[in-house]
Point group: C2
Chain length 216, copies 2
């Protein structure tokens, strides 16, 4: 692994902003997009349960409808690729069995050797369900993938705009998620900023470091 | 901005894994750590509200106690820097005023010109509080920062381990967050893998792309 420099990282993070206006003519090249899809697939999640579905929308008619289902914000229609982040509701014990099965498939060994690990997962899932925070817990994992995706995009020179101001139920209908275990949480438009998006040049607004960083 | 290549990105994401055993002798160089702190500060959040506090723990005695408050997992004690991710509970309308004030301070103009934007934030906060999902919403933002931090670390050649298996109330006590508006959500150990961490070489386990990616 060849690390990048701190300067490369920071120049990308400072270049990134929540793009308000995308250039609809500029599409993300296929090889770049393939890498960004990998950044979604490779995102870490609690226990590795991957309680998510990433819907990649490029169909112009659907993108237009998703803009309408987003308070008429233009990013879904105008971006190159819209990623809709969905999570699996009411994650059940079968998720633990499936994780153990794919671990054995990838790494060899036996499922029995992973019984202790499986027990921990089952206990966590059951505790979260009994405590009423199962969906909260699993939905948070999706935001790890969102964070990884936006950081990866910035480093590849791709603009993004995270969007929570959307109508999840309408998204679910339009994307065929309604009636499945998955439901829309948020979206992220990806593509290239329009030359006249005035927010591109706006000074970044952040709390002073001393207010967000505490040292112990 | 000079983008990195897709190969650089993917080599870092494939190199990353949830480090089980850190080498306690290997510390993150100061310049690298400064960049990683910036990755926390520059993380995006809903409306830019930054509803978070990042506690950076390097004190050996506290790190030891945090390991004890983490089911005796060794990562908090053995890592170079432990980041504890906390969020602000019950975020009130003053958060909107403060955001508008710092926007004006950074970009100029008047607070009055941002009244429409402020109204949207206040409406969202009030709606979330009335709907009982205010803390769920704000706590998810913290996971964007967690995702950005882990991705940034991997690109700089720094190992991480995200940790939810911790006792938040004990963390709050040990870190001086108890009695403040902030509460611990999760942690992320950062440093360098021990030479004998057998998980470093384990094949990555992931669902087939077709199960997590849906194309529309």
């Amino acid at each position: 692994m060849m690390p990048i420099s701190s300067d490369q990282l920071l120049s990308a993070l400072n270049w990134r902003y929540a793009t308000k206006k995308f250039d609809p003519a500029k599409k993300i090249p296929a090889a770049t997009w393939a890498a960004l899809e990998q950044s979604l697939i490779l995102a870490p999640s609690s226990f590795g349960l991957e309680p998510w579905k990433f819907v990649i929308v490029t169909d112009p008619a659907v993108k237009q409808k998703l803009s309408a289902a987003s308070w008429n914000q233009t990013q879904p229609a105008d971006c190159s690729h819209l990623v809709v982040f969905a999570f699996k509701k009411d994650l059940g014990p079968e998720a633990a069995d499936q994780l153990i099965a794919r671990t054995v498939a990838a790494r060899g060994g036996t499922a029995a050797a992973l019984d202790g690990y499986k027990g921990m997962i089952l206990q966590s899932l059951a505790g979260a369900k009994a405590g009423g925070y199962l969906d909260t817990w699993q939905s948070r994992q999706v935001y790890i993938a969102l964070g990884q995706f936006m950081t990866a995009a910035a480093l590849l020179g791709v603009d993004t705009c995270p969007m929570e101001g959307i109508a999840p139920a309408q998204y679910d209908e339009l994307l065929g998620l309604a009636g499945t275990p998955y439901t829309t949480l948020c979206a992220c438009a990806a593509g290239h900023r329009a030359a006249d998006d005035k927010y591109a040049a706006a000074t970044k607004v952040r709390l002073p470091a001393a207010e967000v960083i505490k040292r112990v």
